[in-house]
C-alpha cells in the first residue's frame, strides 16, 4: 500500500503529459523533415509498427545511461562500474577504459555468494570444472545428467521440504516452460496482479484462461474464484479442468511477502492448486533460510508446487521446481525444458550444492547461520534508518528488498546519476516494470555488506534525497550520529 502526497501525483501526471507531448512533436517533425529517409522499404512489412516502440524511443532512451550499466568485476559488496559517455544525447553510449569502485546496492546477492567464497569456489567448483568440464553439451535425458545434478535435486528437495525436485538451467525458462506443461486449454490460471513477466509469459503460452486478482488481497481472490467456478469455461459453461493460483514469495518490486496463510486457506476451500514462486525468498528469508513458508509459518505440504531460482541467494544460475514425486515424474517426461534444453553447467551445479551446504550448516561451520542473521539485521537496520530519515520505503520487516519511492520521473535520472557520482550504485526502476506513477529506486541488501558500508550508504542516500526532494514523510528526531555511537 503506497501512500503518495497528492501534489506529487499531480506533478507526476503533468510531467508524463509533457514528455509524451514532446515525444509526439519530435515524431511529427521526424515525419515532416526526414520523410525521404523513411520510405525505402517498398513492399516489406515494418519490423515494428510505428507506435509500438514510442516509449522506448522517446522516453526510455533519454535516460538510458541510468539502466544496464556494465560492470568489470564480480558483483560483491564493492564492485567496479564501467564509465560511459554519450555524444548524441544518450542515443548511443560508449564505454571507456576507466572503472569506478562503487558500493553495490543493486545485486541480488542476498547471502554474499556472488564473489569468491572459501568453501564454494576454491576448491570445489574448480575441481568440478576440471572433472566435468564447462558444459555437458546435451539435454538431461541424453547425456546431460551427471552425479552432481542428481545430488543437487535431492539436496533441493531436502532443503525446501518437499519429496522431490527437478532442476533447470535458467530461472525464467523454468516458469515459462513449466506452466504450459502443467495446465492447458480448459484450465484456469489466477495470478497475482504484480507477478513477474516469466509467469505472465508462461501463462499466456499455456493456452489456459487467465484471471488476475488484486495484489495480496485474499478476499478478492476468493471473489474471483467464486465467480469463475460459478461461470465455468468461457462460451461453454463447463466446469474447469483445473485451477492454479500463482503467487510469489517476495515481490521484487515491492519487497513485501505474500499473505501466504490466507491465500492457502482460500485455495484449499475451493480446491485450487497453488504455485509459489520463491525466486527471491529462498535462502534469504526464514530462520534457517528456507523461504516464506518458514517465515510465515506455513507447512510446505500445503503448497502444491514450489518454484525457485538458484541465481539470487546461492550465487549460481538456474531454477528448480519442488513438488510431490508424481508431479516431478510427470514433468520429467513432458517438460520441454527438461527434454530438449541443455542441462545446467556442472560447475554452476557444484556452486549451488556448496552454497546450500553452507546455509544448512553441513560444511562443518556456522557460516550459514551467521550469514542469515547478518542479512536479517542489515535489512532491518537499513529499513528503519531510511524510514526515520523521512523516505517512503516499502517492504515488510525482515525483507532484504527495499524500494524507495521516487514518483516523479525526472527524479529517476537525478537520483541515479547523483548516487553514482558519489560511488553508490543503485538500481532505479521506471515504467513499464512498475506502475506508471510509482517509479522507485530499489535497494537489495546483502550479507556481505558490513555495518560501515551501510552507514556510508545511508549518508549518501540522505544527502542525495535532500537534493532530489524525495523525503515525503516527516523526519524523526533520532539522527544518524546517535545511531553510530549507540552501535559501537
Amino acid at each position: 500500500m503506497v501512500r503518495s502526497p497528492y501534489f506529487t501525483t499531480l506533478t507526476t501526471l503533468l510531467s508524463y503529459r509533457i514528455l509524451f507531448l514532446f515525444g509526439h512533436l519530435r515524431d511529427l517533425f521526424e515525419k515532416l523533415l526526414d520523410w525521404s529517409k523513411l520510405n525505402n522499404l517498398q513492399g516489406y512489412a515494418p519490423i515494428c509498427f510505428g507506435y509500438e516502440d514510442f516509449y522506448t524511443r522517446r522516453l526510455h532512451l533519454r535516460i538510458q545511461d541510468c539502466f544496464e550499466r556494465p560492470i568489470a568485476s564480480a558483483p560483491d559488496a564493492w564492485f567496479d562500474v564501467v564509465e560511459r559517455y554519450s555524444n548524441d544525447n544518450n542515443k548511443t553510449l560508449c564505454r571507456t577504459e576507466k572503472t569506478t569502485k562503487c558500493l553495490n546496492l543493486g545485486s541480488y546477492n542476498y547471502l554474499g555468494f556472488a564473489a569468491a567464497d572459501e568453501y564454494c569456489s576454491t576448491p570445489r567448483v574448480i575441481r568440478s570444472l576440471k572433472q566435468y568440464s564447462v558444459s555437458t553439451c546435451s539435454a538431461r535425458v541424453d547425456g546431460g545428467t551427471t552425479k552432481l545434478h542428481v545430488e543437487l535435486e535431492d539436496l533441493i528437495a531436502r532443503f525446501v521440504g518437499k519429496p522431490a525436485a527437478i532442476l533447470f538451467g535458467m530461472g525464467y525458462a523454468t516458469n515459462s516452460a513449466i506452466i504450459p506443461a502443467l495446465i492447458g486449454k480448459g484450465g484456469l490460471i489466477i495470478s497475482d496482479s504484480l507477478n513477474h513477466n516469466s509467469i505472465v509469459n508462461g501463462a499466456r503460452g499455456s493456452g489456459a484462461t487467465i484471471r488476475v486478482f488484486q495484489h495480496n488481497n485474499a478476499s478478492h481472490l476468493e471473489e474471483v474464484l467464486r465467480e469463475q467456478i460459478a461461470y465455468g469455461q468461457p462460451h461453454m459453461y463447463r466446469p474447469w479442468n483445473k485451477i492454479i493460483v500463482i503467487i510469489e514469495g517476495i515481490y521484487s518490486m515491492e519487497g513485501e511477502f505474500c499473505k501466504l496463510p490466507e491465500i492457502i486457506a482460500v485455495c484449499k476451500k475451493y480446491k485450487a492448486y497453488t504455485y509459489l514462486d520463491e525466486a527471491h525468498s529462498i535462502g534469504a528469508v526464514g530462520r534457517t533460510g528456507r523461504g516464506v513458508c518458514e517465515q510465515l509459518g506455513v507447512d510446505t505440504a500445503d503448497v502444491d508446487i514450489m518454484m525457485g531460482t538458484l541465481t539470487k541467494s546461492f550465487g549460481s544460475c538456474g531454477g528448480y521446481i519442488a513438488a510431490s514425486k508424481e508431479i516431478i515424474q510427470y514433468l520429467k517426461q513432458t517438460c520441454p525444458a527438461h527434454l530438449y534444453a541443455t542441462s545446467m553447467s556442472p560447475p554452476a551445479v557444484q556452486q549451488a550444492i556448496s552454497s546450500m551446504k553452507v546455509i544448512l550448516g553441513e560444511d562443518g561451520t556456522n557460516r550459514g547461520a551467521k550469514k542469515l542473521t547478518q542479512i536479517r539485521e542489515n535489512s532491518n537496520f537499513f529499513r528503519s534508518e531510511l524510514q526515520k530519515m523521512g523516505f517512503e520505503v516499502l517492504g515488510d520487516k525482515d525483507s532484504p528488498i527495499m524500494p524507495i519511492m521516487l514518483y516523479n520521473i525526472a527524479k529517476i535520472p537525478a537520483f541515479s546519476r547523483e548516487c553514482l557520482s558519489q560511488n553508490l550504485a543503485i538500481v532505479t526502476i521506471a515504467f513499464p516494470y512498475t506502475p506508471l506513477l510509482l517509479a522507485r529506486a530499489r535497494i537489495c541488501i546483502s550479507a556481505a555488506h558490513t555495518r560501515e558500508d551501510l552507514i556510508k550508504a545511508l549518508e549518501v542516500i540522505s544527502k542525495v534525497g535532500d537534493l532530489v526532494g524525495i523525503k515525503y514523510f516527516p523526519v524523526e528526531h533520532l539522527t544518524l550520529d546517535k545511531v553510530k555511537t549507540s552501535t559501537k
Binding site: 503518495s4 503533468l14 516502440d53 488484486q214 506508471l436
Partner: protein
Amino acid sequence: MGKLYVEAKPSVDLNKNTEWFMYPGVWTTYIAILFVSWLLVLSVFGCTPGAAWTVVNLFHFAVTYHFFHWKKGTPFAEDQGIYNALTWWEQMDNGKQLTRNRKFLTAVPVVLYLIASHTTDYQQPMLILNTLAVFVLVVAKFPNMHKVRIFGINAGN
C-alpha cells in the same frame, strides 16, 4: 495543501496503457491543464475570454480526438500487440462501457462547450466550430460506437 496523502493501490487492469487512469489525481490534473491552458492563451494572444475558451475547446478537440480515438495500440511492445486494433478509448477499463472514468471523460467536452458558447454569447462562427467539436467527441464516446469504424476510416494497421 499541507501534506495530503492519497493511497495508490495497484489496479487489476493488465493493460499498462490505460491503468494509469485509475490513480487518484488524474481528473484534477486534466481539469488543471485545461484551466492553465486557458490562462496561457489569454496571456499570449490578449483576446477576449470567450475567444480564449473557443481556442482551448478546439485544441482540446484536436488533441483528445487524436490520442483517444485515432491512435491505436500501445506505446510499448511488451503486450505483443494484442491491443493493436483498439484505440485508447476502446482499451479503457478493459472495454467495459459507462464506467465512472468514461462518464467523466464524456462530460468534459460538454462542459467545455457550454463554457465556450456562453462566454462568446452564442455568436456565429465560434458557435458552429464549438458545436461541431463537441458533436464529434460525444458521438465517438457512445457505447454503440465501440469498435465501429465508419466507412473503414482508421481500420487498417
